[in-house]
């Protein structure tokens, strides 16, 4: 489908312009490249990934370990953290640890949790949504009630109860996030499958003798690529914030391992950030930029993958907002 087809001019009235057929993949990429906001967000995410991967290099370059405490050089004589300077580029925290190095290691945690939790939650949500939507009847009733049930649970409280029993850990954080995140995409997929299974091409596949698994995998799911990709991307920032929240409440990553939420909680402890603004500004800023970047990217992906859909989301900094204005004029 993505082969370029060049319409050769024929006869005397040869058109001067050549028409090029572009595949949907190529068109998507072209649309995405025109979206400067999404491109910028993507660039930031790439940099963040490099920053996270290079965390040991950052530690080696500064000569400061992730949990290493510099009580002599990193704290003032009054025991107050030192601000950004030569030896500590982004300052130190209450124990005299290097904020920059801890940010890098925290990025690993955030990205790992965000991506892993979102992918697994999406897989669960798609599976359950597809089964409920395709088979209907009892399966649908049962699974839809299950989704309602999980959605009406006060999730932060339950997460607290669970963590208080099992003790905080990275694995538990990921599991908790997955458990409370799959429902939204599950609901979306269910309603989409519900309408797709009525369509002619599914009927055609069935009349050709395809079984339910084959129909789901070959006919239904490929039609849901767009919502699945978009919703999974959108789930990453909420998973990252969820993890940061757990760590902020002391129920996520176990210290001395670094996480952004934990760093912010240390800054709030004893209102230390009032005298050491860098303890809030850097972890808080990078957390905000990360969620912002993933949200912008998600919006950009939705617009690029599904240009026909009415853009309910953002028309921010993109060139196509002019198009949407003229669209409106035409409609009015």
């Amino acid at each position: 489908m993505s082969d370029a087809l060049i319409v050769e001019p024929t006869g005397a009235e040869a058109p001067t312009r050549r028409v090029k057929q572009r595949g949907s993949g190529e068109l998507t990429i072209r649309r995405l490249l025109r979206d400067r906001a999404a491109l910028g967000a993507f660039g930031f995410i790439l940099l963040l990934i490099i920053f996270a991967l290079c965390a040991p290099l950052v530690a080696a370059a500064t000569g400061h370990g992730m949990a290493q405490q510099f009580r002599d050089t990193g704290l003032t004589s009054a025991g107050i953290p030192k601000g950004p300077g030569h030896t500590f580029l982004l300052g130190t925290d209450s124990l005299g640890r290097d904020v920059l190095v801890r940010l890098a290691y925290g990025a690993r945690v955030s990205l790992l949790v965000g991506v892993v939790a979102s992918l697994v939650a999406a897989a669960i949500g798609v599976t359950i949504g597809t089964i409920a939507g395709y088979f209907g009847g009892w399966a649908d009733l049962l699974l839809s009630r299950l989704i309602d049930l999980v959605m009406s649970v006060p999730f932060l409280l339950c997460a607290l109860a669970l963590v208080s029993v099992r003790g905080p850990s990275l694995t538990l954080s990921i599991c908790v996030i997955i458990f409370f995140s799959w429902t939204h995409i599950g609901r979306v997929v269910r309603s989409q499958v519900l309408s797709l299974r009525q369509r002619e091409f599914v009927e055609a596949a069935r009349s050709l003798g395809s079984g339910p698994v084959s129909i789901i995998v070959r006919d239904v799911l490929p039609n849901l690529t767009v919502p699945i990709v978009v919703y999974t991307t959108m789930m990453i920032p909420s998973s990252i914030v969820f993890e940061a929240t757990l760590s902020f409440l002391g129920l996520g990553i176990v210290p001395p391992a670094a996480s952004w939420g934990g760093m912010l909680s240390e800054a709030l402890n004893g209102s230390l950030y009032m005298v050491a603004w860098w303890m809030v500004v850097f972890p808080g800023g990078i957390l905000l930029l990360t969620t912002l970047a993933f949200n912008i990217l998600g919006d950009g992906l939705r617009d690029a993958l599904d240009p026909k859909a009415r853009r309910v989301g953002f028309v921010w900094l993109t060139r196509r907002r002019r198009a949407s204005r003229s669209e409106k004029k035409a409609a009015a």
Binding site: L157, C158, L287, R310
Partner: protein, 319 residues
């Protein structure tokens, strides 16, 4: 309509039973011995057995569970392991702070979110719309504890350094100290809670209203010569209210069960702060009580939302 409410009530009961089994089972499989925690490390085996017996911990789990449910239905959620106070009393003491925070926050976020959404939807693609969209995007991405700390820093600490108290550092002033004190202590928490949620409601309102404004009956209303303002607010917004109320019901209920993060940042002694203390101290009856209370709020909110649906949408009322 009545059938809908009854279905909801039955489902609500199922949710609460599932939730109670979940928290109860959680603590049953949990490592650690509450008797040991209460009696201390020095406690003799005899004392431990005595504590277990007095707490009923030596009974089989289903007996413990049924006894708990029986007590709960009679308005007794048990007693805190630490303060020996009734869990219900402990929670009731904390409700005013949380309720003040959440209800005030709701007003602020609706007053910001809906007008921003309406302004965006009325002229999609315009500069105003882009501004609204930018606000939504930033609001959605702002982790609330970062926002709260930022507010405290800019609006409490910086003025404080200039020897000027603009806002208090946190804490809750009960209404008995006067409405002024109460509101003054809550302004920053309200806005912290509200800005993130305002973004969600702005997006929701914009999306819903954009769909509605394309409907035929809106064109008819315009053709009748009704002012644009009336078309948007009376005819357009009304049908978006069902979506807003659905979202509002579950949001408010979840928050009433403890606006944990905001309470933590501003040192408000609400239900969420109680939950955190209980979790740190492994005070099981309190944790179970708070979780079940949160669940009850959600269930009740769902029923209220269904009734409101009927009032707002005649199609549902008559069906």
């Amino acid at each position: 309509m009545i059938r809908l409410v009854i279905t909801r009530l039955v489902f609500g009961a199922v949710v609460l039973i599932a939730l109670s089994i979940f928290v109860f089972g959680l603590f049953f499989i949990a490592p650690g011995d509450p008797a040991r925690a209460l009696g201390g490390d020095e406690a003799s085996a005899q004392l431990l057995a005595q504590i277990r017996h007095s707490l009923g911990l030596d009974d089989p789990i289903y007996v413990q569970y049924l006894r708990f449910i029986d007590n709960a239905l009679h308005g007794n959620l048990g007693f805190s392991y630490h303060s020996q106070e009734s869990v219900l009393t402990l929670i009731a003491e904390r409700i005013p702070a949380t309720a003040s925070l959440v209800l005030g926050g709701v007003v602020v976020w609706l007053l910001i979110g809906i007008p921003v959404g309406v302004a965006s939807a009325r002229s999609p693609g315009s500069a105003r719309d882009r501004l609204g969209q930018g606000f939504t995007l930033v609001g959605l991405s702002f982790p609330s504890f970062v926002l709260g700390m930022l507010m405290l820093f800019v609006l409490y600490f910086l003025p404080r350094q200039a020897n000027f108290t603009l806002f208090p550092a946190g804490g809750y002033a009960p209404l008995s100290e006067g409405v002024g004190q109460w509101a003054w202590h809550l302004v920053l928490p309200w806005f912290t809670l509200a800005l993130v949620n305002a973004a969600i409601y702005a997006r929701l309102t914009r999306g819903q209203l954009l769909d509605v404004l394309g409907e035929d009956y809106i064109r008819t209303a315009r053709a009748k010569g009704i002012s644009e303002r009336r078309v948007v607010y009376k005819h357009g917004l009304r049908s978006t209210l069902t979506a807003i109320i659905t979202q509002l019901g579950s949001d408010v209920a979840m928050l009433l069960g403890g606006a944990i993060i905001t309470e933590q940042v501003f040192n408000l002694q609400g239900v969420g702060a109680l939950a955190i203390t209980a979790v740190t101290a492994q005070d099981r009856p309190v944790i179970i009580g708070v979780v079940l209370l949160g669940g009850t709020f959600v269930v009740v909110a769902n029923v209220i939302v269904d009734i409101l649906y009927g009032l707002l949408d005649p199609r549902i009322r008559l069906a």
